[in-house]
């Protein structure tokens, strides 16, 4: 047998890593670079398809709820503020940090739920993914963002779970990585809102 892993030589465990920045933060930043390009592509696809159609939104398609979504956006923005506070007091006030993290997750869940309710209504008014390219790009872009919100919420939930667990302690770097991702999710929303709802 070819032994690529010769077991007799003692391996070096707990190897010291000289980190430029924490690896989890570094990896998250690289991931966000890809995400930025992903959303840039969706945005350019939106603009190209929109500029190619004569009437936008097309005749007979429902208008989007601009005001209700603006209110809902406030929930998302508030969640980012809560998370900022939570990370700020992470090492000094553990309980308060945990409460703020839970509040962040709650606000994020409110945002996704209201968006989901909005979708149900839009579908009942006749705006579906196949009803027009207008519907197609709407569900594509807002859906992609919604999935990212859910992904961010799962990451924050994992952080909350590890705050409560004794075996796997949550480090500030783990929380910061989740925070960076959440900031991205919140930060890209005003751009998408302006593009899809306002313009």
């Amino acid at each position: 047998m070819i032994l690529l892993v010769a077991p007799e030589i003692p391996a070096n465990s707990n190897a010291e890593r000289r980190q430029l920045v924490s690896s989890s933060i570094f990896a998250t930043v690289i991931l966000i670079m890809t995400e930025v390009m992903f959303f840039a592509a969706l945005i350019s696809a939106y603009m190209i398809i929109r500029s190619g159609s004569e009437e936008w939104p097309p005749w007979g398609q429902p208008r989007l709820p601009v005001f209700a979504t603006a209110l809902n956006s406030l929930a998302l923005l508030a969640s980012a503020f809560c998370l900022h506070q939570s990370v700020k007091v992470f090492s000094s006030q553990a309980l308060r940090s945990k409460q703020l993290l839970a509040l962040t997750i709650a606000l994020g869940t409110v945002f996704v739920s209201v968006q989901g309710y909005e979708w149900v209504q839009l579908i009942s008014f006749g705006l579906t993914i196949t009803s027009s390219t207008y519907g197609g790009v709407f569900y594509l872009i807002i859906g992609a963002h919604g999935l990212h919100v859910i992904g961010g919420l799962l990451a924050l939930l994992a952080c909350l779970k590890r705050l409560n667990s004794t075996s796997q302690q949550l480090t500030i770097d783990n929380l910061r990585a989740a925070q960076i991702f959440w900031y991205f999710v919140v930060g890209v929303w005003p751009v998408l809102y302006t593009l899809v709802y306002l313009l």
């Binding site: 070819i2 032994l3 690529l4 892993v5 010769a6 077991p7 007799e8 030589i9 003692p10 391996a11 070096n12 465990s13 707990n14 190897a15 010291e16 890593r17 000289r18 980190q19 430029l20 920045v21 924490s22 690896s23 989890s24 933060i25 570094f26 990896a27 690289i30 991931l31 670079m33 890809t34 995400e35 930025v36 390009m37 992903f38 959303f39 840039a40 592509a41 969706l42 350019s44 696809a45 190209i48 398809i49 190619g52 159609s53 993914i129 196949t130 027009s132 390219t133 197609g136 790009v137 594509l140 992609a144 796997q168 302690q169 480090t171 770097d173 783990n174 990585a177």
Partner: protein, 571 residues
């Protein structure tokens, strides 16, 4: 997830290490970077056989139309399309990427920067598992109703978007899903490569002490991750067009097919450099070792590569010169396309300067490295013809294009891969490969390779269009002259394939019967040669400290002509 995950993982791995692991646990679920690298390498080599077999089938059809191809059967028009499509996709996505980036990246990065494993070992394993899944999905696509996808590896809509046009309803979707899964796998792998190279370097290793191949793999990963987002978005949209019935790319429903071309080529062109850079890195390591000379202009090469990486993002529309884009825009892309040949030429000149005055030793890896330089040069020079928008009107979609990109991709994916394999084989398997067989394999590959693709430049210039399964249907192209050239190319191709058996024999027999390799058979400087061959789990018995750059060969005042990076005193 970072630090805690790492320590937990390495603990778990070491505990397992003490009692004997089963074969399955060790080779299928290992988080060891070397095992994952080998998994990528063997999967990639298996896919190379599949891709080569497809090429064999359609080249035989082109040379001897209508003939029953030995070991394959007759090739009909639909099947021909399926063969060329999947030959292209397999060779780029399932051979070049996994072998050059994932396999060499996994095996070399931790060893060369002096650490015990990747920063995220479990993500690394996940990356391979998703990649394997993508292979399975691709194979599924060959066996569904209608057969494999036949809309070319570029998958232009509306052909690829509407099942009534491409006649491969599920084949098209499965192909797309396989490609998307493959991207996810490399996204995860790439994050790992970049983080590891930046965060886990041995003490004393500065940015400019990192071996060039590690830099190249890191930069390739960054370019991949920066360019893949648009194609993932495009793939989702195309998949929705195929399966849900949206019309993002279908003109009859208000969509824009050119949009796909932009999304595809925004990824597709940087992708060329994504696979080129690791091959350039491999060649740099080999050339310095076998010329016993310092790499000429380390920093110049590094900064030039940054420039290439930036420019690679603004050349994509040169693939669309005849797609109806604005001629003023075509002019801009013409300029950027010609510009990008400058940094690449600069790198190649630096390599030639590295060879100049060196004491060159023609061992097998060196032959492959030199073969890379020479053949890639031809590919680069013919690219300048295609980059000019006026000439491209004639050359577009002709065999000239085919010959051009095979003169770039073949040196990258095949010659670069063999160069790396012959060079690091002793490190990977602990045994030496046979030199004579290696040289026979080299000449038996490089000569027929030119025999295939030099003639294809000629038929391309004669106006032979690609994607035609039987040239007998076109009287202008069915002349005896042109057919003779096609037969010559096909015969060369079969010859080249036959010589690969020499490699297979050498590869597998040396693995068990080859001469035992010492730790540093080539007298090389980089850190992977300071550990036993093959390296133990955890790589280094004691983590190394680095004192100098990787290319200190033939330094005056030293007794030996090499000076390992981790050696504190004169050698």
């Amino acid at each position: 997830m970072g630090q805690t995950t790492v320590t937990h993982d390495s603990h778990a791995a070491h505990e397992h290490d003490h009692h004997e692991q089963s074969f399955i646990m060790k080779y299928f679920f290992s988080t060891d970077h070397k095992i994952i690298g080998l998994q990528y390498m063997f999967t990639g080599m298996f896919m190379a056989i599949v891709g080569g077999y497809f090429a064999y089938a359609f080249r035989m059809q082109l040379a001897f139309p209508g003939m029953e191809v030995p070991l394959y059967g007759t090739v009909g028009p639909g099947e021909y399309n399926m063969l060329i499509t999947n030959h292209g996709s397999i060779m780029i996505f399932w051979v070049a990427m996994p072998v050059l980036i994932a396999a060499f990246g996994n095996i070399l990065i931790p060893l060369m920067i002096g650490c015990d494993d990747m920063v995220f070992p479990r993500l690394n394993r996940l990356s391979y598992q998703i990649f394997l899944l993508s292979v399975v999905v691709l194979f599924m696509s060959f066996f569904v109703q209608g057969g494999g996808f036949g809309g070319a590896w570029t998958s232009y809509p509306p052909l690829s978007a509407v099942a009534e046009y491409n006649l491969t309803d599920w084949g098209a979707s499965l192909w797309l899903i396989a490609v998307a899964l493959e991207f996810v796998a490399f996204l995860i792998g790439g994050i790992n490569f970049v983080t590891t190279s930046m965060n886990a370097r041995a003490p004393g290793m500065r940015m400019t002490d990192i071996p060039m191949v590690v830099w190249m793999i890191v930069l390739a990963s960054i370019m991949f991750m920066a360019s893949v987002g648009p194609l993932i978005a495009g793939s989702i949209m195309l998949l929705m067009d195929q399966r849900i019935g949206t019309t993002f790319f279908v003109p009859s429903g208000g969509g824009d097919p050119i949009l796909w071309q932009h999304l595809f080529w925004f990824f597709g062109h940087p992708e060329v450099y994504v696979v080129l850079l690791p091959a350039l890195g491999i060649v740099a390591e080999i050339m310095t070792t076998f010329a016993r000379k310092k790499l000429f202009g380390y920093k110049t090469i590094l900064y030039t590569t940054f420039a290439t990486g930036g420019l690679a993002f603004v050349v994509w529309a040169h693939h669309q010169f005849i797609a109806g884009i604005d001629p003023r825009m075509a002019n801009i892309f013409l300029v950027t396309t010609l510009l990008i040949s400058i940094p690449i030429a600069e790198i190649l000149f630096s390599y030639i300067a590295t060879l100049y005055g060196g004491s060159i030793e023609f061992r097998t890896p060196m032959l492959w490295a030199l073969g890379f330089l020479i053949t890639f040069l031809l590919g680069g020079v013919t690219g300048i013809y295609l980059g000019s928008s006026a000439l491209d009107i004639y050359f577009h979609d002709s065999y000239f294009v085919i010959a051009h990109f095979h003169y770039t991709f073949f040196p990258i994916a095949i010659i670069g891969m063999f160069a790396g394999l012959y060079h690091w084989y002793p490190k990977m398997f602990g045994r030496m490969m046979d030199e004579t067989l290696g040289k026979i394999h080299f000449w038996g590959t490089i000569i027929p390779f030119n025999g295939i693709f030099l003639p294809l430049f000629l038929v391309g210039m004669a106006g032979q269009h690609r994607r035609i399964y039987n040239f007998q249907h076109f009287p202008d192209l069915a002349t005896a002259d042109l057919q003779g050239i096609r037969v010559f190319a096909t015969v060369s191709m079969v010859t080249m394939l036959l010589f690969q058996f020499v490699f297979a024999y050498n590869f597998f027999v040396s693995m068990f019967k080859g001469e035992k390799a010492p730790a540093n058979p080539w007298k090389s400087n980089t850190l992977e040669w300071t550990v036993p061959s093959p390296p133990p789990h955890g790589n280094f018995a004691e983590l190394p400290v680095v004192y100098r750059g990787p290319y200190e060969y033939s330094v005056p005042g030293n007794k030996e002509d090499y000076w390992p990076q981790n050696m504190p005193d004169r050698n």
